[in-house]
Symmetry: C2
């Protein structure tokens, strides 16, 4: 798979997430996918994403920066959303928060097989502090 094919494939994956089209997820994600060092498999990956959309009903994956070098893709994803309840253990409760995720993907036969993600949770904490100046 050359670079442009890999990029197209990745954009297809992101579209699949944003459509919450879980029946198509297996076209983009390997049955034995690992996430941050743990083999969670396709079903675990889907469960994680479904939980993300429950916590963040207006969740939308937006690619801010994409670096492709087959078989790897690195992406900076930006989120602008209003999670209900807690997010990353923080009491967000419907506050609008913006944060980013820097994430590496390895592909095998056109599917994501290994993911290393770091989410900027501190940015969420900072936004909460900023949005409630009287509580700080």
């Amino acid at each position: 798979m050359d670079k442009q094919e890999l990029i197209d494939r990745y954009r297809g994956y992101i579209d699949c997430l944003n459509r919450q089209d879980w029946s198509a997820l297996g076209q983009f994600v390997d049955q034995n996918v690992q996430y941050n060092g743990q083999r969670i498999g396709l079903s675990g990956y889907q469960a994680m994403l479904e939980n993300d959309f429950r916590t963040i009903p207006d969740l939308r994956f937006v690619i801010d920066l994409l670096v492709a070098d087959p078989p790897h893709i690195a992406a900076r994803l930006c989120f602008d959303c209003t999670p209900v309840g807690e997010l990353f253990g923080l009491p967000v409760n419907g506050t609008r928060v913006r944060f980013s995720e820097n994430v590496f993907y390895q592909f095998r036969e056109g599917r994501v097989c290994n993911v290393h993600s770091v989410i900027d949770k501190a940015a969420v904490a900072a936004e909460l502090l900023h949005s409630r100046p009287n509580d700080g």
Copy 2:
């Protein structure tokens, strides 16, 4: 600058950091470098790194994964170190901690001009919890 030249350049930059060779930093970092959306410039960048080495005397930058697509490099850096005092606001005080940083660099004329980094601070908090079971 083609892909291999960019990779060599980036490895040179990492070597420069590990040698703490601040007199050479300007060969690798642009005078007007931005870090996480702020224009800190070469002097601010150097001050940030010097502070990192003060906080973490045995700091060593190790590239775990490198994705290159000129003019961008994305790297997953791994750290295994024993910071003195506080790190990311956490009372590390000489405990050995391991954590990673997922970071994107944009190059201009062979120098880093824009950096977007997310450090896995939660991993440090988790390691501290793990290393002190009687305090948890």
